[in-house]
Amino acid sequence: MADSDCIVIMGSNMAENHPVAFRWPMQAKVEHGAKIIHVDPRFTRTSAVADIYAPVRAGSDIAFLGGVINYVINSERWNKDPFFKTWVVNYTNAATIITEDFKDTEDLDGVFSGLMEYKGGLPEWPFNAFVGEYKPDSWQYARTKVGATGEMAASTARAGETRVTTGPAASKAAAAQGERKTPPGPPYDKLVAALLKPPVERDETLQNPRTVFQIVKRHYSRYTPEMVERATGCPKETFLKVAETILANSGADKTTSFAYAVAWTQHTYGVQMIGACALLQLLLGNVGRPGAGVMALRGHASIQGSTDIPTLYHSIQGYMSAPSALKKHDTLDDFIAAETLPTGWWANLPKYMVSYLKSMYGDAATKENQFGYDWHPKILGDHSHLAMFAAMNAGKVKGMLCIGQNPATSLNARLERAAMRKLEWLVVKDNWIHETANFWKTAPEIKSGEVKPQDIKTEVFFLPATQVAEVDGTFTNTQRLLQFHHKAAEPPGDCRSDPWFTYQLGKRLKKLYANSTLPRDEGFKNLVWDYEHESEHERKIGEPSALKILKEINGFYTDDPNRHVAGFAELKDDGSTTCASWIYSGVYPAPDKNLAARRTPDPPGQPGAHLNWGWAWPSNRRIMYNRASADPQGRPWSEKKKWVWWDEEKKRWVGYDVPDYPATKPPTDKAKPGATGMDALPGTAPFIMRPDGVGWLYVPAGLVDGPLPTHYEPVESPVKNPLYKQQTSPVLKYWKDPSNPIAQLGDQKYPYIITTYRLTEHYLAGAMSRWNPWLTELQPELFIEMSPELAQEKGIKNLDWVRVTTPRAQIRAKALVTRRMRPFVIDGKTFHHVGMPWHWGWEGISTGDVVNELTSLVGDPNVSIHEGKAFICNVEKA
């Protein structure tokens, strides 16, 4: 971001929540005059240093971004500067032609073609919660319509969550797949080749009305500056200033970057918000180049790591889909046929999948038994956080291991705590005795006498954990950078590391199952479980070796375990390599080379990417898709924005970064007809993970809620959708439960928009900050921010106690009356907006009400994230 000419921070308060990273936008501003734009409902410290602050009401971001897209497409500069046309035609799917059956939200007043009643899911798992579903056949590229695999591959975890459908569409697709004769593997080359589809139809003049470009143009044609003002409450003039600044700072020698955080994800259309930004950035050529991109500012030390190495139900290692009972995943061949994209980099999936199974089951995974595929569990549907608490509340979940998370203060917190009371057992492993550990003892409903501890039959364990400096391990930061940290001190008392717990639990279970002869236990008995520490001292404690675990993640040769694989290019589909996570392959390429532990920065003043500081996946590439930093001929777009380019003498890609491209594939390379993998793509195609090698302005497959971002209202909103008759996403998730009521549009009991957020001095649900005397002194108390206008209307003074109410709960907080909040005028009507930080709970040395009691179990249909950033409430003086 230090290389950006313009930085748009939207859906984030970067100055307060990622303050150290915020030094780099500030450096860009101070050193070369970059513009900082902040688009947010609240005027925060980020707004205070921004060149433009654009206020928008929470949840209206797609209307705003759609407005920028419309502005850009119709601007003189974008239509005249050859950079944009060259970029869009060569590096995006703008020229691709879409099937005639496609109907846009402009045609159907807010829904896409293919909408139907949701009838999917298994009777064994009725927690998928879709309110509707799309049959996405009509969204496809012409000539490459949804084939047997199209829909299946479309809905893999690569775009988010598994599509959980067993409706007629899926069974038809499954039937079609059954008919297709795919040759078995390994090797899987023939199977992958059998998945090939005809190349896409294109019109590089972009004039055909069915090109992606024309569809995008029509889709956003009503997102005018006037409409943006009506929908978001941002004055038209401010919006236009933002749009002009972004466009003026994009092009061959300028780049604009966007930064977002959970204010773009916690919505029932959060994936589409990010999609709208990606669409805009692709139109502007702001991807894969220095100072460009869409930066996710994530919230936890290794949240990226726990997504890559997924403690997430829907995906197994390296963004492969979890085997599912809802898809044609019956055998390993079926899985590979359903999940492999035959063109582009994902054609390598069989190698990654087989190497993963080898990491699970070791020598017991053989070609004859499909590398143990049958032992691997299959998911039944949505097993995400919200779905699991709904299932727990329905009595379907008996035991829970809670390690470093605090759900007693999580979404619709009263419901989550009621669900936990139905557990037979709960293990809490944490650094602090937080609200979840004590949910049976000190929760508000216990203190009020509503629930008696004697009636809670849950057996609860608390195991104290180590802190960061007491254990070896690796965090993956938001830049995909792996950084190893070293043990500096012994942990006190019974504090043990988190890997210790899992390793020791596994060892005990191995013993308990040792004599089982049941087929269901065979897989577990074969699970490779040997991480004995190199040091005798650690072995005595029972601590597993972080390096042995890292080695399993990195991969090695099965016939010579001391030989690590140097990277994912070495992985094989025949069982000769084992590798848990292909994307992390290369971090530990030799027994004496843990690249995540490197701490050598570049010398000052030298352009570079600090390639010897830690290690970034994939292959230590610091900017992804960086082939796009060169033009189709392989030359830098400009001297100023040079990053990776083709060196004609050396016949290879060179530059400041590791090229995210086959090193010797020349820009002149033509796509080979009938080829699979990278040979199927021309040397001009930078987006190697896409089957067509280009960035997707329009998403023909992979999302369950439509190919183009469309403005919907939050589930709870006081505003009628100004753009369409369809009020909310027609396929969102809602977990129906008497404890999860929703306020309907027009409900006068809840007139105010509320959003939640974090503070610099606190962390998440507070366990890691509310026990910390230094931090609690800095930020001692929960508050609710409101505008002077609202405070006057309600007779509330600064520091008064205020009652905040939603259909789920009522809590108390101190009023913070401030100009940082402002009323919004939407469609001529005034709407008040309040905001609350959500760090508090009843344990710790600073306590306060649980703000998440106000929230509900509703979710994004792609990824099941909740809508915590925009809902409605009432406030009254307490």
Binding site: R23, E124, R298, G299, A301, I303, G305, S306, T311, L312, Y313, H376, P377, K378, I379, L380, S384, L386, M388, V397, G399, C402, I403, G404, W425, N431, I433, P453, D455, I456, K457, V460, F461, F462, L463, A469, E470, G473, N477, L482, Q483, H485, H486, A488, A489, G493, D498, P499, R508, L509, R520, F524, Y531, L550, A597, R599, W613, T760, W771, G868
Partner: protein, 191 residues
């Protein structure tokens, strides 16, 4: 990998502009020797171990100073291209995550229906947890669905957490869970 104090000083002086006081260095005042001396006094006799901030996802590098195995100080690593030695208020409070009278160090157990915790032995707790995992798994395991699909899983055990924890934990934990047939594995990345 331990960085000796001498190595560390050499590296940080070489990094030069990477220190928090680089602004002053740029203004013509050479604080290099003074900074080095101050550093030396503060961490005299201490061992320096490189570490990483456990709060947000920026990944600020830190240095942990220990004397006789006890943590005496944690501060930003001036070599880091990300934070160049700086830390935010949370990062500056990492020391209190470790050294804090409120920190629990004992294993606790609460029996069904009990009104208080009881202190338990770690080994006893681990044995009991393993027993419960096995019991629930065995009672709720589904090999095949009524439609004949082989699934080899249980939906009745839920594992939550991981985004604040090392990838080594995430790896072996998801492996153990999936190895047992437990599919409901989630962390903060979802919400």
């Amino acid at each position: 990998m331990q960085v000796s104090r001498r190595d560390f000083l050499r590296i940080s002086v070489a990094a030069g502009t990477g220190t928090a006081l680089s602004g002053l260095i740029g203004s013509g005042v050479n604080l290099g020797p003074a900074v080095a001396r101050a550093q030396e006094l503060r961490i005299k006799g201490a061992k320096t171990t490189p570490s990483i901030c456990p709060y947000c996802s920026v990944g600020c590098a830190t240095l942990v100073h220990t004397v006789d195995g006890k943590i005496v100080n944690i501060e930003g690593d001036p070599r880091s291209p990300h934070n160049e030695g700086t830390l935010c208020p949370k990062g500056a409070a990492i020391f209190q995550l470790h050294v804090n009278p409120n920190r629990p160090t004992q294993v606790l157990h609460r029996a069904p229906g009990a009104t208080e915790w009881e202190v338990w032995d770690l080994e006893r707790a681990m044995d009991r947890i393993a027993e419960l995992v096995k019991k629930t798994r065995d009672e709720t395991f589904i090999e095949k669905l009524p439609n004949g699909k082989l699934v080899n899983m249980t939906p009745a055990i839920f594992s939550l957490g991981g985004a604040t924890l090392e990838i080594e934990f995430n790896h072996i934990h998801q492996k153990l869970m999936r190895g047992l047939g437990i599919v409901a594995i989630e962390n903060q990345a979802r919400i």
